[in-house]
């Protein structure tokens, strides 16, 4: 009786044994690996390869053209404009939306009353569909019937054609992006703030940090470092790849004044069907983004690593 039971246990153990720890590890990571290969690695390699061809959608044959696409890019004014626009756009949106997110987070954190309400209110743009929100913005910024201009008119100020003029179109898209990203950053920064130990504030108070400003400089700002690194990275990426607002509100116009890189790539590939050329743009775009990320990480991490 007892013997039989022992044998049964031994038999089960024998069956289990072949699946070693290493095999189990591979099995468990397999879904992630497959997803990574199929959805990131293969497309990236495909884009890199396509960038070396003159492939056009709908044309049955294509040829290997080497670096011709890249040479053309360098000369293409239609690419230079969106590059400049994007640089301006990121320089406008990233700092302002981070600053706004920080100020909102500190204000809400300092006054716990209504915390959930304000957090939800400012996070709304992130969870709502940007294309739907764009419709609202189109109305708000309408040159003649829009409330924004109505207020400006009442104040006796100039009433620009926000989305329709070449001076203002890019700035308007930028303001909308700031509004969208500030809420996102606020939530990230609030999470970072709650991770700061309360006792550090008590210690700062005892050490003589009388003003809120002194405590901000002594505790909040330095301890928010790792969070801010993440916020800066994610905001830069989100700003660089802005697409939906442009597509919904201005289509890059007027006269390419509000055209951003991703929109150019989209038009090159899906309107003009020049997939090879669009791929070359994508490769350049990818390289620039990766380089920027590496630079930022290097720069900021040096100052926030407490090891």
């Amino acid at each position: 009786m007892a013997d039989a039971a022992i044998h049964r246990v031994a038999a089960t153990a024998a069956v289990r044994a072949p699946i070693g720890e290493a095999a189990a590890a591979w099995l468990l990571t397999a879904p992630a690996i497959v997803a990574f290969v199929l959805m990131l690695l293969v497309p990236t390699i495909a884009v890199c390869l396509l960038a070396l061809t003159d492939f056009e959608l709908g044309v049955p044959t294509f040829q290997f053209v080497g670096l011709d696409n890249f040479a053309e890019l360098m000369r293409d004014r239609n690419f230079a404009i969106p590059v400049r626009n994007t640089a301006f756009f990121v320089a406008l949106v990233a700092p302002l939306s981070i600053l706004m997110g920080l100020v909102l987070a500190l204000l809400i954190e300092a006054n716990p009353r209504g915390r959930t309400f304000f957090r939800a209110a400012f996070f709304l743009p992130v969870v709502s569909l940007m294309v739907a929100m764009a419709t609202a913005w189109q109305y708000l910024l309408h040159p003649t019937i829009g409330p924004v201009n109505a207020i400006l008119r009442d104040l006796g100020l100039a009433t620009p054609n926000w989305l329709g003029s070449s001076e203002w179109a890019l700035i308007s898209i930028g303001l909308i992006s700031i509004w969208e990203n500030a809420g996102f950053n606020m939530v990230l920064i609030m999470a970072g703030l709650t991770a700061i130990p309360r006792e550090l504030y008590a210690a700062a108070e005892i050490d003589g940090a009388r003003s809120a400003w002194a405590r901000l400089r002594l505790v909040t700002w330095p301890l928010l470092g790792p969070t801010m690194l993440f916020v800066v990275l994610i905001t830069t990426i989100r700003a660089i790849r802005t697409f939906d607002t442009v597509a919904a509100l201005t289509q890059g116009g007027p006269n390419k004044a509000s055209e951003l890189i991703v929109y150019t790539i989209y038009r090159e590939g899906f309107t003009y069907l020049r997939m090879g050329y669009a791929s070359a743009m994508t490769v350049v775009f990818l390289a620039v983004v990766l380089g920027l990320m590496a630079l930022q990480t290097r720069l900021i991490e040096r100052r926030t690593h407490y090891g």
Partner: protein, 383 residues
């Protein structure tokens, strides 16, 4: 003249009465420990003394000055937190500089680069560097000054936290369980060092711990706190030898004091299930008779009948765990370790309390002043 004086402090958190009228006086240079079980309000009292929490009622005085309404930054107190609360982005040196910089430099002088050019800044900064070095030498942490907290061990961090607290020579010094994160041997060593440090710095100190050994070995006086009240403040030997409350007697001493349900019989004689303890009282009805393990010993003729359940041999001493033969009350006797062979589990014997060192308490827990009866009266009532 007082160092720290706290009167009548009450504090509620919603429904929880954390402190119920606490009073505590610490003389200048005195070291007072605050002990008590978890959640009894020790940290809350410390935070109120420090000014991090406002009391609902009562006053706090530090060096004769009423500071009840002042905020922490304006009271002359330093505090060491249980978690040390060091600034993780600053080196040990910078951590220790913070309290001095914050107090001696004004807002303009603290601005990076620019501040250093303002008149006077350089002198002050040089003084600060000097004082940090002197304090670091006192704590033997000179070699660690340029490391960040993340690069220090728990014990080293604790020293830096101590350094940050004493570097500005505060009038009052508050430590909230500073040793609880250290391992046992380091704790014993640091215990000695803190006492020594206190002797040199000489500030009034309140030291929170829930380790009674720490409290007994380090302090001039011990305050035992329970459920938001201080039950007794006395030198360690009186806390142990003359407890004012049953809860104090039970909290201090390891193993815990033996407690017996007793009745007051004719003439005020106190008996435990028929055994005449030799103590008498004016109270009546039920009382509590308590005797420490080292004051309970086997006797051939008289005592409380008990059966040995378990024997713990500790080397120099021997703990005899027994149970009262009739009432089932658990009792522990501490005997000389050399008597080890004399007892075995299951033995029946008589355990006799040393009347001169036993205590009587009301059933509510308050100490009763007992009278010792003449020797003849201490004979057994029966059997």
């Amino acid at each position: 003249m007082t160092g720290i004086s706290v009167e009548n402090i009450a504090k509620r958190f919603g429904d929880v009465a954390a402190l119920k009228g606490v009073a505590l006086d610490v003389a200048p240079g005195e070291f007072v420990s605050l002990v008590g079980p978890s959640g009894c309000g020790k940290t809350t009292l410390m935070r109120i003394i420090a000014g991090l929490e406002m009391p609902d009622a009562g006053t706090v005085r530090i060096a004769e000055r009423d500071v009840t309404g002042l905020r922490a930054a304006d009271r002359d107190v330093a505090m060491v937190f249980q978690s040390y609360a060091l600034y993780p982005h600053l080196t040990a040196r910078q951590n220790m500089a913070v309290p001095l910089v914050m107090r001696r430099l004004n807002g303009w002088q603290r601005i990076p680069f620019l501040g250093a050019r303002l008149p006077g800044t350089r002198n002050i900064v040089a003084n600060i560097a000097d004082e940090i070095l002197r304090t670091a030498q006192m704590l033997s942490i000179e070699a660690l000054l340029d490391r960040r907290p993340g690069q220090l061990s728990g014990g080293q961090r604790q020293r830096v936290a101590l350094g940050r607290a004493i570097v500005r020579r505060p009038k009052a010094f508050l430590l909230d369980e500073p040793l609880s994160n250290l391992d046992a041997s380091l704790r014993v060593q640091t215990r000695k060092e803190i006492v020594e440090l206190h002797r040199r710095v000489g500030a009034s100190t309140v030291y929170v711990t829930h380790d009674q050994t720490e409290a007994m070995t380090m302090s001039d006086r011990v305050a035992v706190m329970m459920a938001g009240e201080i039950l007794q403040i006395d030198p360690p030997e009186r806390i142990y030898g003359d407890p004012a409350d049953l809860r104090v007697a039970a909290f201090v001493g390891s193993p815990s004091i033996n407690v017996f349900d007793a009745s007051v019989e004719t003439g005020g004689r106190v008996a435990v299930d028929g055994y005449a303890t030799g103590l008498a009282t004016r109270a009546s009805g039920r009382v509590v008779f308590a005797v420490r393990p080292e004051d309970l010993a086997p006797d051939q003729r008289v005592g409380m009948p008990a059966r040995v359940e378990h024997i713990e041999f500790l080397g120099e001493s021997l703990l005899l765990h027994a149970r009262h033969a009739r009432t089932g009350t658990a009792m522990i006797a501490r005997l000389d370790g050399r008597e080890r062979g004399a007892f075995a589990v299951g033995h029946d014997l008589l355990l006799r309390p040393d009347t001169a060192r036993a205590f009587l308490f009301e059933s509510g827990g308050k100490r009763l002043r007992a009278e010792r009866m003449a020797q003849s009266a201490a004979e057994p009532v029966h059997g």
